[in-house]
């Protein structure tokens, strides 16, 4: 049976039209855009076109605000380190405690280096407290970095409003929009967002290409110094084939934005309802009323995520989990813990993330396959009896903890 891919927040398939657009840049158009001869100038023109395609999807005012990087992580690191380097009198970073590791791990390191990092807490639905946020904005803050949409739950942060509040206090604002770009409309020229990170492979472009949007006039210090590429803001020979691919992917994402927010959303909702109507003791995490159209994160209580994934994989269904075991760490997903999801549920969270390629038949099959897998694992669980969860699960099974 054909495998079903529902892990599009992890990475996506490169669209065939994107592959077709990029292939000539490995062969006949292999030139270095910096060269003066014809081999180079053709590539230069292609990069210019790609830059304008990205600009259009982001609603940026100028194409020179688009800086090509190697990935979302590089864009994130560049943005935050630049804000700190360019403003040596400011030593504080504000972020949230549900960010991607690309931000959180960097911030942990910055703390070791002596910087101050404030991580905004979230409520049970993964929403930040705007009053807490406002209270932290002061002239020691170099940059605020908040994700546009959460990779695990799809929950959307009010980044446009947050950026305005920061701008009013003269503070730079960065958003990691890796999950949002291509899934929700973005119009940067009408916002106060100074920097934005995106990653090609989340929107059907290849891996190894990202973008940092840098508002004109925003003070900047490069991460990589060297050649004059990207106007000296990101040295290193351009990854021309992937840049062309990303440009194409952005154009396609623009065309499919409507479909993503109607048809993909409908399939996601159908999947969610179909599973929850059959499986008890399961719930949607995050804020269902304000999230990406493609993401459903469901916590299955009393069972563990990796075991669910292995059984799903056996029937050809690919998704991911917030359990500790799938990451090799001791703690379940920091996003689930930040929302106060109990351990017995946090370990059993499964993320289904759709793309425009998923079909009705696929969703129907997943709705059919998931309930028996949950039932099979619950049979093995010490928190579960024939009739449902043990009367008082925490008391019925209270192991000696290591």
């Amino acid at each position: 049976m054909k495998p079903i891919y529902l892990d599009n927040n992890a990475t996506t398939r490169v669209d065939p039209a994107v592959v077709e657009a990029m292939l000539p840049f490995f062969t006949e158009h292999f030139g270095n855009a910096s060269s003066i001869h014809a081999f180079g100038s053709e590539v230069g023109k292609a990069l210019k076109k790609a830059r304008s395609q990205v600009q259009a999807l982001l609603g940026a005012e100028h194409d020179s605000e688009i800086i090509f990087t190697s990935c979302g992580t590089e864009s994130d690191s560049t943005a935050i380190l630049s804000a700190l380097k360019a403003q040596p009198d400011r030593n504080t970073v504000i972020t949230t405690n549900v960010e991607h590791p690309a931000i959180l791990t960097l911030c942990e390191w910055l703390e070791k280096e002596g910087y101050i990092v404030h991580k905004l807490k979230v409520d049970k639905k993964g929403r930040i407290d705007m009053d807490e946020y406002k209270s932290l904005l002061n002239d020691r803050v170099a940059v605020v970095s908040a994700m546009w949409a959460n990779n695990e739950t799809g929950t959307i942060f009010p980044v446009v409003e947050m950026a305005e509040l920061a701008a009013a206090k003269g503070i730079m604002f960065h958003t990691d929009a890796v999950q949002a770009v291509g899934k929700v409309p973005i119009d940067l020229k009408n916002t106060k967002i100074d920097m934005l990170s995106l990653s090609g492979h989340k929107l059907h472009a290849p891996k190894g290409i990202g973008v940092l949007y840098l508002r004109r006039g925003c003070r900047f210090r490069p991460l990589l110094r060297g050649g004059h590429q990207e106007r000296g803001r990101r040295a290193g020979t351009e990854n021309s084939a992937s840049i062309v691919a990303l440009g194409m992917a952005c154009e396609l994402a623009q065309q499919k934005m409507e479909f993503e927010n109607t048809e993909v959303r409908r399939l996601r909702d159908k999947l969610e309802k179909g599973i929850l109507s059959q499986v008890t003791h399961a719930f949607v995490t995050g804020d269902p009323s304000n999230r990406l159209p493609n993401t459903a994160n469901i916590a299955f209580e009393y069972i563990e995520g990796e075991a669910i994934l292995l059984l799903l994989n056996k029937v050809g269904i690919a998704c991911s989990s917030g359990s500790a075991c799938t990451s090799g760490s001791l703690e379940p997903s920091h996003v689930m813990r930040a929302m106060g999801i109990p351990y017995t549920a946090a370990h059993g969270t499964i993320r289904f993330s759709l793309s425009v390629y998923n079909t009705e038949e696929e969703i129907d099959r997943v709705i059919k396959e998931v309930p028996p897998i949950v039932a099979q694992l619950r049979k093995l669980s010490p928190y579960w009896t024939d009739k449902g969860p043990a009367a008082n699960p925490e008391a019925a099974f209270a192991p000696t903890y290591a």
Partner: protein, 298 residues
């Protein structure tokens, strides 16, 4: 994803002896829900012979936790309680043709459940003496708690010493930053407030041996050499290895590395560590060499 052995996959997809065991007379509940694993082991023990007639499990956990539980129930059936107490977590992992380093704690949980269930049958109190920390060295599955304990107990100062005592950091070396952080933390505690000094990035050069108060006789010297070897043997045996003295020729001490130690990628580090201890104990510069380096007798 993990590289699970076929045996792990087989036990996960077709777990043996799962579900409650009505006639159980020894039950062990252990685990760590933070790590996403918890296990109830149920034993049916024949009182006269103390033979385990049946064993069942219920597990909240990942693929390898379920597979380890299933394997454990198969292994202990038919054993006496005393035999069952001899089952180590390594035995469980071996039964499954190995577990990924990140997953070794699943086998540890199995062994603890077994001890807890036997204690429960015997009416004893079982307490867990094992604390688990974040995994630092993935090559040898060594966690932060273990490294910190060893650093404290042995007054270690360098990554190289940590590698000798725990193996952590002896493989791909990606965890050296993590080990340095633990060293810095412990050394800061040791130094007390206000005297924080970073750990030396390079291994410290061994201190010049103190001149011996009196010259050791050859018998005294060999006794001391044996003493040093005895002190490192438990550590090597834990990893299925061993060492014994082959010969002493002047300043050269030849040893046989046995079991898992022979041909191990860590051989040089093991010998280096033993040599360091020899130098400290004997108070003179000596060289510790594998027996394969012994000069062939004429």
């Amino acid at each position: 994803m993990w590289e699970y052995s076929d045996k792990v996959r087989e036990h996960f997809f077709n777990p043996r002896n799962s579900g409650p065991l009505e006639e159980a007379n020894g039950i062990g509940d252990v685990g760590s829900i933070q790590c996403g694993d918890a296990l109830r082991l149920m034993l049916k023990v024949e009182p006269e012979t103390e033979i385990i007639l049946d064993a069942h499990f219920q597990t909240f956990g990942c693929g390898s936790a379920i597979a380890s539980s299933s394997a454990l129930t198969e292994m202990v059936k038919g054993m006496t309680l005393d035999q069952a107490l001899e089952v180590s977590n390594q035995n469980i992992a071996d039964y499954l043709d190995g577990l990924p380093p990140e997953k070794m704690h699943c086998s540890v949980m199995g062994r603890e459940a077994l001890q807890a269930a036997i204690a429960n049958y015997r009416g004893e109190e079982w307490s867990d003496d094992h604390e688990e920390g974040a995994l630092i060295c993935k090559c040898f599955a060594i966690d932060a708690v273990m490294i910190e304990d060893v650093v404290k107990a042995n007054n270690l100062n360098t990554v190289e010493e940590v590698t000798f005592y725990t193996k952590a950091g002896g493989g791909c070396a990606a965890c050296h930053e993590g080990i340095e952080e633990i060293l810095a933390k412990v050394m800061a505690e040791r130094a007390g407030p206000g005297e924080v000094s970073p750990p030396p990035a390079c291994p410290a050069t061994p201190e010049a041996p103190k001149p011996p108060t009196k010259k050791l006789s050859i018998v005294e010297k060999i006794a001391k050499i044996q003493e040093v070897l005895e002190s490192v043997r438990p550590m090597l045996q834990r990893d299925h290895g061993d060492v014994e003295l082959a010969d002493v020729q002047g300043k050269k001490i030849y040893v046989h590395l046995k079991g898992a130690c022979s041909g191990c990628m860590m051989e040089a580090a093991t010998l280096g560590g033993i040599q360091q201890k020899m130098i400290e104990t004997l108070g003179e510069l000596v060289q510790v060499l594998p027996s394969s380096h012994m000069p062939v007798e004429a």
